[in-house]
Amino acid sequence: MKVIYTDSLVIGGGLAGLRVAIASMQRGFDTIVLSLVPAKRSHSAAAQGGMQASLGATIKGDGDDEEIHFGDTVRGSDWGCDQDVARMFVNTAPKAIRQLSAWGVPWSRVRRGDREVVINGKKVTITEKNEAHGLITARDFGGTKKWRTCYTSDGAGHTMLYTMDNKAIQMGIPVHERKEAIALIHEDGVCYGAIVRDLITGELMAYVAKATTIATGGYGRLYAISTNAVISEGIGNAIALETGIATLGNMEAVQFHPTAIVPVGILTTEGCRGDGGLLLDKDGYRFMPDYEPDKKELASRDVVSRRMTEHMRKGKGVPSRYGDHLWLDITLLGRKHIEKNLREVKEICEYFLGIDPVEELIPVRPTQHYSMGGIRTKASGESPTLKGLFSAGEAACWDMHGFNRLGGNSVAETVVAGMIVGEYVADYCEQNPLNVSTSTIQHFMKQEEKKISDLLVRDFGENPFELKAAMQKIMMDKVGIFRNGEDLEQAVEDLKVLNQRAKKIALRNRISSSNPELVEAIRVPKMIKLALCVAYGAWLRTESRGAHSREDYLERNDRDWLKRTLTTWKDDSADLPEVSYEDLDIMKMEMPPGSRGYGVDNTVHHPDTARREQEIEEIKKANPGADRFELQQLLNPITIPEKFKGKNERIGRGFK
């Protein structure tokens, strides 16, 4: 049995994983990163739009600060997020971006003087301040009050990931590529690493560690059409679920992005609309102002996706052999802007659609895009139920996004969570000796060996590719943008059948070394379990909140549903996960539930909401001289690692 020991094992080499690894290495702990692919190819590289941080350097971000970013994030989440975490996040994001700037990201900068931009379909001239020249600039994104999304032309994720990986290389952090974690090792409620399969040789190894962090990204590929990379299959979430101890949070919270190209589902960034692009229907009519007169194309993502779907259902979609779609029009932005700030979009249009978006309209449709749900963690990033297991990034339900995440808040989360969780991982390594018994390691190793050898000897059985396609179709058809009880119930029943069938997979290519069919056979049963968590959670949640939109329960119901779904899978032979709920305590909220300001407000309020509002008023009255920092301390005192406690400087207002 090959065993590799380390202090901090990080599963995932995207932005979140690398940042956690850097933090634990900086604190002097032996650290290893595992990744399915070379770290720089992780899906983080695909983020084109940018990262939110309230720097307020561009004139259109003037006056921005942590409070406004916090408000946007909480409202965006439809009050489903953990406000402590959202607070830690907004306070740390400016530091994260400035650190990345020192480490090498060539963020696009403010240029003093006049420039022409497109706002609400019209060309407008804005004048950047002299004293902002050379500071990090920002663009507009959906659901934000200020221009807050910092970017590098069209390659924010790419430059962030390259810088992060380069930093890791500089520090000598080993990244073990083409390795897949397939099970966690745990004993008496403590996690001690993972069983890992080498995707080239097929060898199984035990990576034994004090602290284990899962940063494996999202589970978008549970759906047939997704903007996500083909490796975003949620295996990190699944191995946590399979412990029977760790919990997954809000798995039904799945985001659909308004503008992926038809039919392949490749994303065109929200930057297209942020920079002034419009949505048009089959008559060339701009329909969003009719639905959302205020934010129009730049309403929150879940809202725009639903409005587009509604509009297509009214017969206003453009028919095509792949079903209806709408148009994204960026022609009004002009060639120069597109070739610089939206070049990736242009390349995608040219290569995959054979069109030039400078002159032609882009066929788009809402498409699966982001997983708000994931491994439930405390604010420290540690699982509340399985000690020593941490999670960060899209894989986690750290829960700053609740039921809908804002564009630009995700890459920001990866680096901020990486910083904060990384410190707690290091603390954990400091405080806990590694004492796991060899027999436990052996037990998990044998278990995985047996699963694989069973697969390699079975003569007849199910085809893993077919099972996967069937699962993806169920999720597309029945667990999509608009959901209803009947479809969801059917989805759960259908997935249960697939779950049984997945126990009898047989291979055509029966070798244990590099073998794509075996990889599929290992992953598909795990993915079906995750799909069940999503569908079952969605069926049980009889309200509409953020991206979870029930046609049979239209209202957001704070009274009964202001709570987080927790899923565990204790009994491997069971057909369904166990579901429980965790209340969100309004009496601790800095911002009690209110209206997001889209469409009609039909919220069923919780009795605590009015109480808390009044309490906040009283606190404010009792502390008339309190500045925003003191007020936050009174309303939402958070613990944050010492390093990140300081205030953030901005031009024109210093540290105020």
């Binding site: 720089k40 400016p94 900068r109 590719f465």
Partner: protein
């Protein structure tokens, strides 16, 4: 997108070094073309319906991550964004990218090569203060044009097309290659990187570095991100000539 259905003929290099007794060979597969079909879609179709052992690497399938470079009808390119309709006679020959360790079939270990390249050129900002920077304060300013120029050179996706297209690399296994030059040019341009010309010289001032380059520009012809290899190699050369 054309509507007519045709049968595509894929000739694919097959060899699994992990499998005892396996020998390199070309195997032909037929696939019914679908509108908008890319090589990514076709290869998955072959894997799912004809041969589940076929190895290849795709991650983003959108021309962004650099995973899927292979030789398509003689030209190194990103397979995921290559439409099958580009090939009029419907015959497509696929070979793994040369110049890299073969993992199996169309999969090569570019990751290992690129990590070694990054270590060799020390692909990071050299500044003792980078870790001590006070991130509560305003970030250091940068000229907007300089930031844009750095990004232009940082758009490399480490796909390896330039390496596979380089005649010098074929003769000199330790040749740094265009991807390494591009990375060096990116850091040489960056005011945050405090390395001196002398320090850059030590990395690339020999025949395995920029003086080994024969300027045949296979790199520039095949770079899927259209990076300006010619001008950057010339720039590095000029810079190095003045050292010593």
């Amino acid at each position: 997108m054309s509507d007519q259905e045709r049968i595509l003929k894929f000739q694919i290099f097959r060899y699994n070094p992990q499998k005892k007794g396996d020998k390199p060979r070309m195997v032909t597969y037929e696939v019914t073309e679908a509108p908008g079909m890319t090589i990514f879609i076709a290869l998955n179709d072959i894997r799912e319906h004809q041969d589940p052992s076929l190895q290849f690497d795709f991650v983003c399938r959108a021309g962004i991550c650099g995973s899927c470079a292979m030789v398509v009808n003689g030209q190194p390119t990103l397979a995921c964004r290559t439409l099958t309709s580009n090939y009029e006679n419907g015959e497509i020959k696929l070979l793994p990218l040369p110049g890299f360790e073969l993992i199996g079939d169309l999969s090569v270990n570019t990751g290992k090569f690129m990590r070694a390249m990054s270590e060799r050129v020390e692909s990071w900002i050299h500044d003792q203060n980078a870790d001590k920077v006070n991130f509560e304060k305003l970030e250091e300013r940068m000229d907007p044009d300089v930031a844009d120029q750095i990004y232009e050179l940082e758009r490399c996706v480490e796909c390896g097309c330039c390496v596979s297209a380089c005649a010098t690399k074929r003769m000199r296994p330790d040749f740094l290659s265009a991807v390494g030059f591009m990375r060096l040019a990116r850091f040489a341009l960056d005011p945050r990187d405090k390395r001196t010309d002398q320090e850059f010289y030590e990395i690339m001032g020999d025949d395995d570095g920029v003086f080994g380059c024969m300027t045949l520009l296979g790199c520039e012809d095949y770079c899927p991100k259209d990076l300006p290899h010619q001008t950057q190699i010339a720039y590095l050369r000029r810079k190095m000539v003045f050292v010593k």
